[in-house]
Symmetry: D2
Subunit: 255 residues, 4 copies
């Protein structure tokens, strides 16, 4: 596969901006609307932002690491960009779609590439009821919070909350509690990627909860639905031998 | 040991208020200032409140369960109160003293019987530096939060965060991370009860953190010191054969 | 789907033998070779035995619980067996194929429905090298042992070793360490069901290791290969509304 | 404190034997019976051996690392040995005393500095009843095994089995299950160092269990008692600033 029109995006730090200038001079710089590939210069934060911004276009994104956390980024090099793009593996992912109802009655929809997480806002423990596919599976979880993670997000917040790392092609979502108080030793569940997950916030006035879709936060939610959206394709490009599969496998053997 | 002047306190639910009336009629009702023992009718929340309120007097407190969570409470009975008080074991505990400096420069001191916990206030991970006895032991913990727990508190929030349950007489504090992101598999530490623990909040403007001493919350802390205060005695009374030691041992064999 | 020739098998306890007699009288009793369905009366142990014994025939097996552990068994009832068989969901699973080389040079092959586990035989820690698809991923694991589990086995030994419960249709295998000493906090990995896993036993004379395929044990192994065998179908039948998927989902919400 | 008569012991590897020769030439070499301090040249294995061998004499032991695992050893240096010995901190520990009854009726006693562990000998899960101070606390634990660890041993096998690291002066023992099957999420307990722990092996003919006191193994045990022996002092010497307390604290902050 060959790419001819490259649009570059970069984070606002000198290291990334200088790379942006060099690469634009050398490889041309199409506008994103015009390009057939996006090259993102920064860290994982930029990759997620860029995926969000261009999510509905299905355009592939190739990241090069100019940031601190680069799990989703390829190694930075000035040279041979066209060859690397042509040889790259493309990982096709789907985001989560969150529908949240707030205490004030407004409804909000957001997409998440990594995870949707709920967290208590105050010193009061959150109380949540969890349903899967319309059936209550956890009548009352008393906790700091809970999250639903995609395979791509399973090495992020999910891992901090002791959830399992999931291979990209596993067609699973991780449901992982955050500091569960009762039931106190519940470790969460691996769900089919078709699962429709619903969180009802119990006693939400006394125990306010926020919901976060990737980095976008909604305060005072009362009802949150989460499911994979298979109609949206996220295309991330990885150098040969460094596919996302390989990265996630490697990550599982780190210690 | 015999007790002659009993003061009763109760939570504001019918079950507790009715017990308060019956017991006051039967056993008299001294004022707290006048009493040589306090009898608390409610759940663990009331016990903690009562301990806080009368902490500096060193008066023993005997709880009877009229609430939902009664780990610190004795079984409720109308009869034989004087005999039970006379026969009870007294557990002597010390609280944690927290000194917190806020972003606005104010300083606050609070005591905690269970734990002092720090938690991120927003979707941004907290970044903390942890020192023990003046020496940095964890240069940067990226996490949802962290807590210091007494043995008495080790079955509460500490347990939710996967910290160990500690016997009352162990002379230890538990330092337990809450969803540690980096280092990702750090499980916390058991510290000497003499340990002076300091948390410095890094990047606190972008990543605001709250501190909670038992249920009292302080928003936007930047520096938090925690240590046991051995000069304050908390005296809780437990029926024979149901000492706090025994309860904590039992708790460790629950599953 | 209707079944006409039923062969019954039962464990050797009165409860199971009496059921065998009643059901044979009522529904006839074909020989296993002649039958188009097997009905197993006992616990999970019998189900595994029966699956092993008839593995190469691809005949469906319907279990009814007459034992103590019945995760794979349907509820026992005398009545309506034909209707239940006709309405049952069939779960199609594949076993693991283990190829083990022993210290004496002999080679052994075995199939496992739940898991292949390796465990040290003596007080000496096992030292293992783990490769996935021909690539060393863990150069030296010092441990009590390690296991590879199918989704069906993920609620068995894998769960005891703190491995994740895996939905039946997830196309994954769990690789889970047993008391890892170094690297001390390695938690294992979820692998593609295509993964070819190899364990080389290091220092095997001083540190002997046994391998177990389900309940079949091989002492003093030096090299063990494990992979799914997709050419063998295991067919287990479950009452409507109690499919294996449903059971594994339920299991994940137990506490 | 000054030491005049030094006896050296060394493991049987060139690195240790050469050090032995150099140091004996330089500092003299008393017989162990004659010495007032032992200097052990090797790794933790040698330290444990030396402690065991001279346990009843209460002689202090100073280790210098000539092996691979040196948690209990000081840094190796040829020079300034007398000064280092004079300045060293002495940690005073007590061993565990194990009394095991075997299936053949014989009784065996052994001491353990790190831990007493029980482990199944075959593919059959062990079934154990656990009592503390004469009271059954766990009627039936189905598992790979279980261990009792001293604080000194808490960074060894106990840590592999996910048990907590315990400060040296905490006066606690860790009781930690190894791959618990039922109750499946039991995590063990921290016990008073006065606790008398008893393990009864259930169904021991079908499910044989071995007991190991440090590295000494007893096969086919049926009843095992474990408790601290406060009458035996183990004296280990550590360089200033590298006390055992400090080492264990440092270990808890490793990741």
């Amino acid at each position: 596969m060959t790419f001819k029109k490259i649009a570059f995006v970069a984070t606002d730090v000198p290291e990334a901006q200088e790379a942006l200038k060099r690469l634009s001079d050398r490889y041309g710089d199409a506008t994103p609307a015009d390009a057939d590939v996006l090259v993102a210069l920064g860290g994982d934060g930029l990759m997620l932002q860029t995926l969000h911004k261009h999510m509905h276009r299905g355009i592939p994104i190739y990241g090069m690491n100019r940031g601190s956390v680069g799990f989703l980024m390829n190694e930075y090099r000035d040279d041979e960009l066209l060859e690397r793009l042509a040889a790259a593996d493309i990982a096709r992912l789907h985001p989560l779609r969150m529908n949240a109802t707030l205490a004030n009655g407004t409804k909000h929809e957001a997409l998440a590439i990594n995870e949707v997480s709920l967290l208590r806002e105050t010193a009061q423990a959150a109380k949540l009821r969890i349903s899967i596919d319309g059936k209550v599976r956890m009548p009352e979880l008393s906790c700091d919070g809970v999250l639903v993670s995609t395979p791509a997000g399973s090495t992020a917040y999910n891992l901090s909350a002791q959830g399992p790392i999931i291979p990209i092609d596993a067609a699973l979502l991780a449901l992982t509690p955050i500091s569960a108080f009762r039931p106190r030793r519940w470790r969460g569940a691996l769900l089919s990627h078709h699962a429709k997950v619903r969180f009802e916030i119990l006693d939400s006035e006394k125990r306010p909860v926020s919901a976060v879709a990737d980095h976008r936060e909604y305060r005072d939610v009362v009802d949150v639905h989460v499911e994979e959206d298979p109609t949206i394709d996220l295309l991330m490009m990885f150098d040969e031998g460094h596919s996302l599969d390989e990265r996630i496998l490697t990550e599982q053997f780190l210690y």
